[in-house]
């Protein structure tokens, strides 16, 4: 309890130092210089002459965040949607691609784990396909699927599939022999054995794979949305770069971090729920 309190205090202290340093670095300076009028229009007169940093101060960001939190779900046309709406698009794509990947990876992983023959037959494909950056599939997806939304989901599908597939296969292959022997002496049917013995025995390993997958999917969706555009938190960040609103970019980054943390927390809970002590 005491060490927890201490750790919390230390975290707050670190945050304080960080914000303090940031605040000092973005304080207005006295220097005056002639500024290009075009540039001044873009970044603001004070920033253009160098008296104020173009980088927002912590207070600017705080104000921006407050605006986002107050009204996260507004929709004023394609280039001006609330951060909540953008996040919802991203989360939806991730969950859709991830679920489809789970539907494929877990049964196929089961098959690979149960049959050394299937494992050896599929292994070369997995080894070649696994290291391909999921974004490399994007042009191919856009060409064949002819829809940017579906393509983004497809990219998430591709990047989520490998950790789940490999972990499921490994978990299934390393189910303790004695549990399988118990099932054999009890003449348990193959389907019942799969669901009552192998699945619960391999569940912790499968959940680890799902947790890694969802983490990767959340990393990839930002890049994918920057490419396909339109909606999503990745598009939001890129769009705010075009708007040169650094405070909004920072808000987006913070939101990405928080949602990623929430996803990981959710899956760590699931993982804990299926883990058993031996």
């Amino acid at each position: 309890m005491r060490s927890r309190l201490l750790a919390g205090t230390l975290s707050l202290l670190l945050l304080g130092i960080l914000v303090g340093a940031w605040h000092l670095a973005t304080l207005p300076k006295g220097a005056v210089a002639a500024a290009d009028s075009e540039y001044a229009k873009l970044v603001g007169a004070q920033a253009a002459v160098g008296s104020k940093s173009a980088f927002p101060s912590p207070a600017d960001l705080g104000q921006k965040l407050l605006e986002h939190v107050r009204d996260p779900f507004y929709d004023r046309g394609p280039n001006d949607k609330g951060i909540g709406v953008q996040l919802a698009y991203s989360i939806l794509r991730v969950l859709l691609g991830f679920s489809l990947a789970a539907l494929v990876a877990i049964p196929v992983g089961f098959l690979i784990g149960m049959s050394p023959l299937v494992y050896r037959a599929l292994d070369p494909f997995i080894q070649v396909l696994k290291p391909i950056s999921p974004l490399a599939w994007m042009p191919l997806a856009l060409f064949t699927l002819k829809d940017s939304n579906v393509s983004a989901v497809f990219v998430i599908f591709v990047c989520s599939i490998w950790p789940m597939l490999i972990n499921t296969a490994f978990g299934v292959a390393s189910v303790r022999r004695e549990w399988l022997n118990v099932a054999r002496t009890l003449e348990v049917s193959p389907v019942r054995k799969a669901f009552m013995v192998i699945l619960p025995a391999a569940a912790p390993t499968i959940m680890t794979g799902m947790r890694i997958s969802v983490g990767i999917a959340w990393l990839v969706i930002v890049a994918a949305e920057m490419l396909v555009g339109g909606t999503g938190i990745g598009y939001f960040v890129w769009n705010e770069w075009n708007n040169l609103s650094i405070a909004n970019i920072l808000s987006g980054i913070l939101a990405i971090g928080l949602v990623g943390m929430a996803l990981d927390f959710f899956f760590s809970r699931l993982q804990k729920a299926v883990t058993y002590a031996e």
Binding site: R184, T185, L186
Partner: protein
């Protein structure tokens, strides 16, 4: 014809032979123990009887049928208890019961499972996970699970090997009681001579491998019911015990050589 017949059983890996020419029979309701040094293939024999392993040679016939795979007719208590750690005690037993009687409803399965959990003295612990149990309690669950499917024959693979002496004694007493009550046919592996004398009606002595055989079959002279705190007062106890220990210490190794000599002598004579 005996209830279980084992004829000419052998197990070989390539050119090396674990055991061969293993012949014995078990009558219905009989308790048979196998004693031998580790590596003589006791567990392999048990696995073949269970149908989990295949013999290189020979047949096993139980109740007039050849054993060709695992069956609910033969319950197995594994060396390392083999409980499913994600299931509670009750659910571990219920898993077996549901496998045996798939048509039963939830209540029937529960009542039947509970009966066997009570039998091994675990009432009150039925909702605990195996990780919350001591080694002795885990093994008790393994025994309850095997008895609960009411198999024609029970196979026990050194079930008490990992337990301390006190716990082992208690569970042995329980097993004596349960077997007396259920008239269960049992085949058990042990390396504990006293355990064999307490539980077994007949004791198979295996010689040391490679090429292990059943060297001797000893009838337990001690009358039933046997109680752990009484049998050592019987004069026949130490006589038999000495005989068994002598075998394990001395004759189990020389047996092979004698056998080999006899065989070559026979061959020469022919």
């Amino acid at each position: 014809m005996s209830f279980l017949q084992v004829q000419g059983l052998a197990k070989r890996f390539g050119t090396s032979c674990v055991f061969e020419k293993v012949d014995f029979a078990v009558e219905k309701g009989e308790f048979v123990c196998v004693i031998g040094h580790s590596g003589c293939g006791k567990t392999t024999i048990l696995n073949i009887l269970a149908g989990l392993d295949a013999a290189s040679d020979g047949v096993v016939i139980m109740d007039g049928r050849e054993v060709a795979g695992p069956s609910l007719d033969r319950g197995v208590v594994f060396q390392g208890h083999a409980l499913m750690p994600w299931l509670s005690v009750l659910k571990n037993v219920a898993f077996a019961v549901r496998s045996r009687w798939p048509a039963w409803n939830r209540v029937q399965v529960q009542v039947h499972s509970q009966k066997f959990i009570d039998m091994v003295g675990l009432n009150g612990a039925e909702h605990k996970k195996p990780s919350e149990l001591s080694g002795g309690m885990k093994q008790r669950v393994g025994i309850a699970r095997a008895f609960a499917i009411q198999p024609k024959m029970l196979l026990l693979d050194e079930p008490f090997g990992a337990l301390d002496a006190l716990t082992r004694g208690n569970i042995q007493d329980e097993l004596v009681g349960i077997c007396a009550a259920t008239r269960q046919t049992v085949f058990m592996i042990t390396h504990d001579v006293d355990e064999a004398l307490l539980l077994a009606d007949r004791i198979l002595l295996m010689s040391t491998g490679p090429g292990a055989r059943i060297a001797e079959i000893v009838d337990n002279p001690l009358p039933k019911p046997r109680a752990r705190h009484e049998i050592h007062h019987d004069q026949r106890y130490y006589r038999t015990r000495n005989h068994l220990v002598d075998f394990l210490v001395n004759r189990s190794k020389t047996y092979q050589m004698e056998e080999y000599r006899n065989e070559t002598r026979l061959r020469r004579r022919n």
